[in-house]
Amino acid sequence: MEFELNRIQKGIQKAATDFAKGEFDKDLAMEMDRNQRFPMDLFKKAADLGFIGIHFDEEVMGGGLGHLETVLTAEALCRRDSTIGSALMLAGYGAECLMNTGSRELKEAFLPHLAEGRMLAGAQVPSTNRDTRPLAETLAAEKIHGEWVINGTVKDVINGQTAGFYCVLCRTDSDASPDKAYSLFLVERDMEGISVSESISSFGIRMTSIADLRFSNVRLPELNLIGKAGNGLKQQASFINQSRVLMAAMALGIGQGALDRSITYVKSREQFGQKIGRFQVNAHKVAEMMLGIEQARSLTYQAAWHLNQKKPDLKLMAMAKLAAIKAALEASHEAIQLHGGSGFCTEAEVERYCRDAKALEMLGGSTNALKNDIAAGIIGNIK
């Protein structure tokens, strides 16, 4: 057992930290947060430096590294700026589906665009109550004369407005049982028959577009089928599980960033004749923040390490997200409280970290859904 990052991992961590420090700008971040703008220039730069698609194969211009390396990058970027970091790390949302099970031809046609910063990928966030919400809300694809024809609406697509291609789940067999009824497809933004709604105006991760897609007789060649027909739900589930680890890493960075700013503040702000970090209660707040973050960090690194070993542990992945979001929320809430009135104001940044952490909690499955999955992994079937 070893708790040390290797040389390459340390290198990536440092490179990502340096990149964020050198390129992220607070005023720009505040402006883009206000106007819901995606940081396209930074995306291009991040891709040039190899921070996009780190765990993608080298054949598709990826980094050829693992999930833990992606986790370290996400953490470093979100730590420096929660909203820019989130936007960059979610820029390839859904592309995992393609990476994991797509044909070589399809991968080579699209993944380099993402890894080189020319195109974003998009996909639907998992529904909040997976146990209760019917899956019928998804799209329907029908095979007509060798082509797939897609109709319907898919809601809450990350990068809805900004993506160049989407990975979408469609019902391909109306008679089959759910585990065989769905298939995944790659759809290009410019294809005829696709319309995209306006992005929602949420309070968090505002540089990332979330919008609905409408499909009206969208025609796809067979090539655009990702993996095997009928395997969609399984592929989707595997992607959602992986995305939990990514979101955990982003949350870790957000929590750490809120903590960093709090440490600076309590060491400089004076009230009642002393630095406020000298008050025991404030010092303990900082201790609790660090405690939550370190606990979540262990879980997240562990979950990512398992992924690197190709032995995904679903419980760990769900627990990592749960713990990291909790830590990020606690840290950013306390950061606001420690900053007092200025913490509620945008200028101090920590309120934005808090909004972003909350949005990450709310996206990608509610905590009840996460707990369902963790419990299922522990208890199994009860007869």
């Binding site: 968090g204 009642f272 809430h333 509620f344 934005r352």
Partner: protein
């Protein structure tokens, strides 16, 4: 037994106000939130319709109501889920200073305008380097003959942009004891040397204007001092009871509003062929929140009743302020956690509530200060 005895008159007043909100406030809220500003005309409408400072006596242009009228107004306002018309700050926190400590002349000069909405008030205590440690403020007021010259800057002043009249806390630089150096002064809009800074961009409370205020050799007549010279700190402490009680009540109502929304949400949407909410986790969470709101309501209404009987409830009010503001944060946060992505969309009002209540644990004295007061009162 009801903790608060609303009479028929209060009930009618509530109905009138609800109607007013429907026609003159609710349709504009989204615009105000987007513009980060509530127009002064809205304050004026509130005043003209009789919904500002309902407790001011008829002698000064008021309707001679009581604290229950204020409760009616603020409860209904909180359920509109916006903070632009922050009536409780003007009507129930700041104007009472003039009513309690003002001279006849001051009362005659200002109270009718405060009731009619021609005068909207703010209070300026906090400074960039003086937040929780109020006594450490550095704004100075030098009294010379018939004039007072004020110098310094104040920050995070609610209604700081819209206000027509501001109570400024400032120190006599010659008095060493900070608690005896502070006096309160009434500074009118347009006084030379009184400059408003820009509005703050905030996490929430978007329709409410929070600004910096600067005083640069701002000269006012000595008649504009409120109360005795050097009694500012005591006056502030005295009025903080009602201020904190108000914040505690606003917190409970915000949580109650959010709870009402989420209850309806699950009654409508979580029906997978069966009846209401099929998820036990959801049921329990809502049960816990309903309990929190019930406990909170009983506590703050009891304190409101005591407050009306003029009891000193400084400690209890501090407890209510910290507990209720944390509770509002907890409840709104839990709701958003449960509803997930739906909570990020337009249809969910709780996202705004959640953003707004984040400052409730900070303003009117941080919750850390509340706990300090409570511990001190327990001789710890």
């Amino acid at each position: 037994m009801e903790l608060l005895n609303f009479t028929e008159q209060h009930k009618t007043y509530r109905k009138h106000f609800q109607k007013f909100l429907e026609t003159d406030v609710i349709p504009h809220i989204d615009d105000w939130e987007r513009d980060h500003m509530t127009p002064k005309s809205a304050w004026k409408k509130m005043g003209q319709a009789g919904f500002l400072c309902p407790w001011v006596s008829t002698e000064y242009g008021g309707m001679g109501g009581d604290f229950l009228h204020s409760i009616v107004i603020n409860k209904e306002l909180s359920w509109t889920n916006h903070t632009g018309l922050m009536a409780y700050l003007h009507s129930d926190i700041i104007v009472p200073y003039i009513n309690t400590f003002g001279t006849q002349t001051q009362k005659k000069k200002y109270l009718p305008g405060c009731v009619s909405g021609d005068i909207v008030m703010a209070v300026a205590m906090t400074e960039p380097d003086s937040g929780s440690d109020l006594a450490s403020m550095s704004t100075t007021a030098v009294e010379e003959g018939n004039e007072v010259v004020i110098n310094g800057s104040k920050t995070f002043i609610s209604i700081g942009y819209n206000c027509d009249l501001v109570i400024v806390a400032a120190k006599d630089p010659k008095v060493a004891n900070p608690h005896k150096a502070i006096s309160l002064y009434l500074v009118e809009d347009g006084t030379p040397g009184f400059i408003r800074g820009s509005k703050f961009e905030k996490m929430g409370m978007h329709s409410q204007d929070t600004a910096e205020l600067f005083f640069n050799n701002c000269t006012i007549p000595i008649e504009n001092r409120l109360g005795e010279k050097g009694s500012g700190f005591v006056m502030l402490m005295q009025k903080l009871q009602q201020e904190r009680l108000m914040v505690a009540m606003m917190s409970v109502w915000a949580a109650e509003f959010a709870l009402e929304w989420v209850t309806n949400y699950y009654r409508k949407t979580d029906t997978n062929g069966g009846g209401p909410s099929t998820s036990q986790a959801v049921q329990f969470a809502i049960a816990e929140m309903a309990t929190d709101v019930m406990v909170g309501k009983n506590f703050v209404y009891k304190l409101a009743a005591d407050h009306m009987e003029k009891k000193s409830i400084v400690t209890e009010t501090s407890m209510a302020k910290f507990w209720a503001s944390d509770m509002a944060k907890r409840v709104t946060s839990k709701i958003l956690e449960m509803v997930g992505t739906d909570g990020l969309k337009q249809g969910c009002p709780v996202s705004r509530t959640w953003c707004d209540v984040q400052v409730y644990s900070i303003f009117a004295g941080t919750n850390e200060i509340m706990k300090t007061i409570i511990a001190k009162s327990m001789k710890l």
